[in-house]
Amino acid sequence: MSPNFVIPRFRLPAFIARVGHKLPQWPHTLALVGALNAALKLRLLPESELAALEDKLFRVRILDTGGEASYTFRNGLFRPVFQAQREPDLAFAANLSAYLQLLARQEDPDTLFFNRELEITGDTELGLIVKNMLDAVEWPALPQLPLPGR
């Protein structure tokens, strides 16, 4: 990604969430869990902290798309939970742009929290562990793809 590319703060139109609620939730749940397991495989997540996640139920809600994903961590793998039987131990809720800004390390989670753009509910200590775990990840530099014609 170009260093000059800035993800703007945006909110998708309300009808998207209305439609999104009715769509199946498994595709993005699988995508999220797959990404987390890929990060595990690359040993990006600190092993010392992972024990704290065991059997906890997490929910990530994207307010303006109506999307929602629940998952847990068990026996060394993140696993999707399609029909959660209980309230999550930790729940995040935000608009898509806030998540994108977080992932791109463009905005700080505390900043988004102070500004009420990111909602964190449930076990606060677990939330802190997850936040600090993501902050401590050293994302590998993306490989430079050879451009055609060179």
């Binding site: 902290e49 900043t111 102070f114 500004n115 600090n132 401590a136 990840v137």
Partner: protein
């Protein structure tokens, strides 16, 4: 106009390796960090450095000619003084440039055991007078003292004129009630405080409760604030709670705000401050990048003197964005009373 002899060091926080690298890459002269335990005052779950991470961080910073300062700034607890002494020994072995200490007993240990090690007096040491600082210089050979955020600029200048110890002051970050090293408010609610376990309002006692139209913050069950949906939130500390006092509910102790000294940076340099510190080891690498970059730009703008210095709107908006409570003040620096 005057020419600045040397710029003060920009000292930036690092709670993780990516944050350390962000500080170094964006112009910090020094980074400060802590071990993953209660020997430092940002002892939060998942934060800080184990020995391996710290070695790598030190290698990275030193490779780029920057300093690493290690905070061991909590107070040794009864029966466990060895843990704090071992932390000092480990810091020396790792080769940090300075250790930031608050407890006089630990300062005494460090200076006797490691006379060559550079020692700084932490803000948690709560030294606000030159007498206190000169005492620590005489007894423990401290080379620098970090001043608590309770002094006016004139008082800071008075301290600097009366000591040969380098003086470090805060330049940006969240403010609290600022009774540094002496604050037990958090213990009042949950039995734990920065001085004892290294954390104010430890997360395990904090509950964010979403209600229709409002969010409630509770610390060990005690309601400390309630935010409307459009109100900015703050850290869940007692000193920033809103309380019912004689029928009125308001921030009875302190409003959630951040210190921001950009507008008085030339004055801070003029009086001979040796280092400017940024608060926020609990924040992400993104925050460290944003704040370090901004303060670096402001300091560099003063390299040629202060005649043309002005605070750029872009700097202010960058800092305002990451501020707690989204409002910035000069704190005690320009307070009319003493």
């Amino acid at each position: 106009m005057f020419l600045m002899p040397t710029l003060p060091d920009l000292v930036c926080p690092a709670g993780s390796l990516p944050a350390l690298k962000a500080a170094v890459d964006n112009g910090a002269d020094a980074v400060y960090l802590g071990f993953k335990n209660d020997t430092n005052a940002r002892n939060f779950a998942g934060l800080n450095f184990d020995q391996k991470g710290m070695s790598e961080g030190i290698r990275y910073a030193h490779g780029k000619g920057r300093e690493v300062l290690l905070a061991i700034n909590t107070f040794p607890q009864a029966g466990r003084t060895d843990d704090w002494r071992k932390a000092v020994d480990a810091a020396v072995d790792l080769g940090v440039d300075a250790i930031i200490l608050a407890d006089v007993g630990l300062l005494d240990y460090a200076t006797r055991r490691h006379p060559q090690q550079r020692l700084h007096l932490s803000v948690q040491g709560s030294a606000t007078s030159y007498e206190a600082i000169n005492f620590c210089q005489r007894e423990f050979n401290i080379r620098r003292a970090v001043l608590p955020r309770v002094l006016t600029l004139a008082q800071v200048e008075h301290v600097i004129r009366n000591t040969s110890v380098e003086i470090e002051v805060f330049g940006f970050g969240s403010l609290c009630v600022m009774n540094e090293g002496r604050c037990w408010l958090s213990s009042y609610a949950c039995g734990e405080s920065p001085n004892t376990v290294g954390a104010c309002s430890p997360a395990k006692y904090v509950k964010w409760d979403k209600q229709p139209g409002a969010m409630e913050t509770r610390l060990n069950g005690i309601l400390i604030d309630r935010f409307g949906d459009d109100e900015p939130a703050g850290y869940p500390t007692l000193c920033k709670g809103r309380f019912d006092v004689q029928g009125e509910t308001y921030y009875a102790l302190e409003e959630p705000t951040s210190l921001n000294v950009l507008s008085i940076l030339p004055d801070i340099l003029k009086i001979g401050v040796r280092a400017i510190k940024v608060e926020g080891r609990q924040r992400s690498p993104t925050y460290v990048t944003q704040v370090t970059r901004t303060l670096r730009a402001a300091l560099d703008a003063l390299r040629e003197g202060d005649a043309r210095y002005h605070v750029k709107p872009a700097w202010q908006s960058e800092l305002a964005k990451v501020s707690e409570g989204s409002q910035a003040t000069l704190g005690a620096y320009n307070r009319p009373w003493r």
